[in-house]
């Protein structure tokens, strides 16, 4: 191609080529000039050339030649001898420090300084973010259309209805909208758009509904949230040791070791590989996200494990969210077996109910309120220890949760009281023969923090 163009000398490219070829022959000064000459000028020169059509080729050739005429050369010499150009050439090191950055050619002035935040009010939404083991952040927005619809449906009771954030503890269950472990309501003001919800337990899954509670006790949902899981705040109470072998490019399933070990090494122990089912069963109770991913995989590919794409997951979530009525939260059902892997001579080991941190250690439930400008703050952490004693073979329950007893029948729990929180502490003990039940009801409360400025 290039050769052809050269031969015909008809296109603009060939002219530029020609120019480049001839330049060194004529004068080395010309070359220097070409370097010192600002880029813009070159382009300005090229542009009119580009406009010339092939027919005018003969006219343009002389123009090229004029560039080499003595007149121009003189000018170039003049330039070189003038003080400013001298500076440019001689002070090479300083010019090397500054490599011109290519600027967009002839940029129009465009105003891009706008920093108004987009308006989010046209869509109803409710989202949860887990902040730490004890706090979940919820934010929401109710679109006017949703409100109008609610008004239409609720009729007269709409105006008396309270705005309520209903939190569902959905730890380890396949939530269908009714079977939450625990549900509690927080009354929020109609103007509020965000809330920090305190949860007295770590390692718990939540989802929420924002709705209107009428005087009759009906709940009209306006928005449903995503699922979150709060982090664990203590050591896990599961001590099973599973192993995995991963090398670049190859990954095997995890395994447990069976048989007697010699000393501290693996020698003499057999590997028993776990199936994907085992791991699923092991973790499905804890992590909704993982449960979802694994469930998805299994659903699609059976035991031939393949990873579903994110889109699948998101889409299915979108789909699930849009379902109406009591089915709106229906998740993929997982048959989580309670059986865990046997580990060698220890015999069959059963991993029972998920122990959601019986040994609560406190991070200091009080939220920090550091004054922004003034250097003043006041922190108060409150913790509550509940302890008791019963027959060693009895069962003690706190709400839905069974409390493990020490061998002598004593037990204790530690709670971090959240700021402005109320904890009902209802305990019941059931005798081993299930013939007798005793209940002790108490509660813990921490009253509000009062902020007062300029009180003197």
């Amino acid at each position: 191609m290039a050769k052809k163009i050269l031969k015909s000398k008809s296109s603009i490219k060939s002219k530029i080529l020609l120019k480049k070829k001839q330049a060194p022959k004529i004068s080395p000064l010309k070359k220097i000039l070409a370097i010192t000459r600002p880029k813009k000028k070159q382009q300005a020169k090229r542009k009119p050339l580009a406009a010339i059509k092939p027919q005018k080729k003969q006219k343009s050739e002389p123009r090229l030649l004029t560039a080499l005429k003595p007149k121009k050369r003189q000018r170039s010499i003049q330039r070189l001898t003038s003080p400013t150009s001298n500076k440019n050439i001689i002070l090479a090191p300083s010019s090397a420090e500054y490599i011109p950055v290519q600027k967009p050619k002839l940029r129009k002035y465009v105003n891009v300084e706008d920093s108004t935040l987009p308006d989010l009010s046209d869509k109803t939404r409710l989202k949860l973010i887990a902040r730490d083991p004890h706090w979940v952040h919820a934010y929401w927005k109710v679109a006017p259309a949703t409100m109008q619809e609610a008004e239409k449906n609720l009729g007269a009771s709409f105006h008396q209805a309270r705005h309520v954030l209903r939190m569902h503890d959905v730890t380890a269950i396949d939530f269908n909208g009714r079977n939450a472990n625990r549900t509690f309501d927080i009354e929020v003001s109609p103007q509020a758009q965000a809330w920090y919800v305190d949860s007295w337990q770590d390692n718990v899954s939540y989802c929420a509904q924002l709705g209107l509670a009428t005087e009759k006790g009906e709940f009209y949902p306006l928005a449903e949230s995503n699922f979150v899981h709060t982090p664990r705040l203590s050591l896990s109470d599961r001590g099973d040791t599973m192993w995995m072998d991963v090398k670049p490019g190859s990954q095997k399933l995890p395994f447990v070791l069976t048989g007697k070990s010699r000393g501290r090494t693996f020698l003499g122990q057999r590997r028993r590989y776990l199936t994907e089912d085992d791991i699923r069963a092991y973790y499905s109770k804890l992590f909704p996200l993982l449960r979802r991913i694994l469930g998805k995989r299994l659903k699609r590919y059976g035991k031939n494990i393949r990873i579903g794409t994110i889109d699948d997951i998101e889409d299915s979530e979108d789909f699930l969210m849009n379902l109406s009525g009591s089915r709106w939260f229906r998740k993929i059902l997982l048959g989580a077996s309670e059986e865990m892997v046997e580990s060698g001579e220890e015999g069959a080991r059963r991993v029972g109910a998920i122990g959601a941190s019986e040994s609560l250690t406190s991070m200091g439930g009080a939220s920090e309120q550091v004054g922004k400008k003034r250097k003043f703050f006041f922190e108060l952490g409150t913790e509550l220890i509940v302890y008791g004693r019963t027959e060693p073979d009895a069962e003690v329950w706190h709400g839905q949760k069974q409390i493990p007893l020490r061998p002598d029948g004593t037990f204790s729990m530690r709670f971090a009281l959240p700021d402005d929180g109320f904890i009902p502490l209802d305990f019941k003990a059931i005798a081993h023969d299930k013939l007798e039940l005793r209940e002790i009801l108490t509660s813990g409360k921490r009253s509000k923090t009062h902020y007062q400025t300029k009180f003197l």
Partner: protein, 556 residues
């Protein structure tokens, strides 16, 4: 006898601050200060170690925003201008302190330091400091790990898995483009892990990431070796936990090394203490005083009165602190090794900017430490996480707990009253981005980058990731430079919203787009939007090369 390993990890990150529209932008000096005080001194240390044949290992994360800024010609030019000014100031200082034996010596030291920095920057590495780090990695002394696209705080973004995915995949793709191989490890911004994030890392072929101590300790089931050996997530990605003892020794402002009385005081700068007329040309052009980087005083103690800085004393202190650190690690390893069936590894991650910028003698300390570990004892050795995984491919499997290395150990620093307003917007924009990409997925296929729509889509993705950076909520919480962080988040979100509207209404304003592309030019040559669409994997061709490298790095 070799009993265990220590892994020093430096996390280098700065938010993407680049303002071509303004000649002197105050926040850009974060980068210039970090280059002079941290990155160049570290490069000098590494070069020195290699020259002397010291076998050392350091792991480092260089985040995409930092790499982009270090490779940006505009900022490189501005850095040279900044450095020239500093040299000029230091020359004036030499003159000014001519009759003062103490300060004159210090002025000379600073002058030499700046000239050396200029030499390293211009002559040795031709402005491209990233190439220096790449060189150390290629030589096998440094292991550079990847990080998220713009240091997005992933737990708070997990409402939209596609946003987390894009943060990780863009980060990995940028790493491959920069360093020519896949990242073996990944630095989760702020060490913020949540169960599930490892899935995306797995897809990006990352072998390990770092979590804070309690991420490992609270793993389920319980970790057998605490933080002294990695855990595999059920996905097969390894999690290394941070060791708290070694962290405290260096991090802690009170008990830590950097607070020693002999070290240089950071908060006494001549930019604030000298005559206004004298210092005026070297502070901000608008006339307010800023740090110049020339500081003549040492910490002295908890007093207003400060003694002058003695480089010789500080150097001695750095050496003895390095010795102390090593001795403590030896004892720690000896103790741990007795309880483990494998060699324990102590992972000590720090912010890279701590060394040199805040702790002036930090790079020197690293230098001493690496030399001492190599020659003065036989109990511990330096290692990188991938080398450890090569030696011990079989590890315990458990699910680490959600955690961060921030204040109180969870997400509170990035999610509280001062900064929680950004999340509804970030999540909303994340949803919109996915919607756009779904709608125009055909536009994103093929290799033509010219189409206006495609340019707009990619720019929208860039604006979104820039808004997601964890630095903005961090700044809002620390209550310094808040207006700037607010402005950045609002501006990126507003630009994103305009792009979204323009794309959906088919009214893309090319001039406006060109202007925004020119300003927010991070990942300018990458197709960012496609990472929102599917499991877009980074290019695979480097994989074999990468494998060969891992083997090459492992010692006998």
């Amino acid at each position: 006898m070799l009993k265990g390993y220590i892994c020093l990890l430096l996390h280098a990150h700065l938010p993407f601050v680049r303002h071509p529209e303004e000649e002197n932008f105050l926040e850009e000096s974060w980068l210039y200060e970090a280059i002079t005080e941290t990155y160049i001194p570290l490069i000098q240390v590494f070069d020195g170690l290699i020259e002397d044949g010291v076998d050392f290992r350091i792991t480092m994360s260089l985040t995409p925003p930092l790499v982009s800024m270090l490779q940006d010609p505009l900022l490189q030019n501005r850095y040279v201008r900044h450095l020239n000014k500093l040299i000029e100031l230091s020359e004036k200082e030499i003159e000014r302190t001519g009759y003062d034996s103490i300060y004159h010596g210090l002025a000379l030291t600073y002058n030499r330091k700046f000239l050396e920095a200029k030499d390293v920057f211009l002559n040795r590495y031709q402005r491209d400091l990233v190439s220096a780090f790449k060189k150390f990695q290629d030589l096998g002394f440094l292991e550079i790990i990847g990080s998220a696209a713009t240091h997005g705080f992933l737990p708070n973004l997990q409402v939209n898995p596609s946003s987390v995915n894009a943060q990780i995949k863009i980060g990995v793709a940028h790493y491959i483009k920069t360093f020519g191989c896949e990242p073996r490890g990944f630095w989760l911004p702020e060490c913020a892990y949540y169960p599930g994030v490892d899935q995306f890392l797995k897809e990006a072929n990352v072998r390990y990431f770092i979590v804070d101590s309690h991420g490992i300790l609270h793993a389920d089931p319980r970790p057998r070796y605490s933080v002294y050996a990695p855990l595999y997530c059920p996905t097969g990605v390894a999690a290394f936990g941070r060791d708290w003892e070694s962290s405290k020794q260096v991090w802690s402002a009170k008990e830590g090394y950097p607070g020693d009385a002999d070290y240089r005081e950071y908060y006494r700068d001549i930019g604030f203490s000298l005559d206004y007329d004298y210092i005026k040309p070297y502070i901000h052009p608008d006339g307010f005083r800023v740090n110049t980087g020339i500081k003549y005083w040492r910490i002295t103690g908890d007093t207003e009165y400060k003694e002058y800085y003695r480089p010789d004393l500080a150097r001695e202190k750095a050496a003895s602190h390095a010795g102390n650190f090593m001795f403590n690690r030896e004892k720690q390893i000896e103790h741990l090794a007795a309880h483990m069936d494998r060699k324990p590894m102590i992972l000590a991650p720090y912010d890279a900017e701590l060394f040199g910028h805040w702790w002036y003698e930090g790079p020197m300390w690293i230098d001493f430490l690496m030399r001492k570990v190599a020659y003065d004892q036989k109990t511990i050795k330096c290692i990188t996480p991938s080398e450890y995984l090569f030696e011990y491919p079989t590890n315990q499997m458990a699910m680490p707990s959600a955690s961060t290395w921030g204040w109180k150990g969870y997400n509170e620093f990035w999610l509280e009253g001062s900064n929680d307003w950004i999340y509804p917007h970030l999540h909303h924009a994340g949803e919109q981005m996915r919607e756009l990409v779904k709608k125009f997925s055909l536009e994103l296929q093929g290799s033509s980058k010219k189409g206006l729509l495609r340019r707009a889509l990619n720019q929208a993705a860039r604006e979104l990731v820039l808004a997601e950076s964890s630095d903005w909520p961090f700044i809002m919480k620390t209550n310094t430079m808040v207006p700037y962080a607010n402005k950045r988040v609002r501006q990126h979100l507003s630009r994103f919203a305009k792009l979204y509207n323009d794309i959906t209404n088919n009214t893309i304003d090319e001039d406006w787009l060109a202007e925004v592309e020119w300003r927010d030019n991070i990942f300018a040559d990458m197709d960012c939007a496609k990472y929102y669409i599917q499991n877009a994997l980074p290019p695979q061709k480097q994989r074999i090369k990468q494998k060969a490298k891992i083997y090459a790095h492992t010692r006998d």
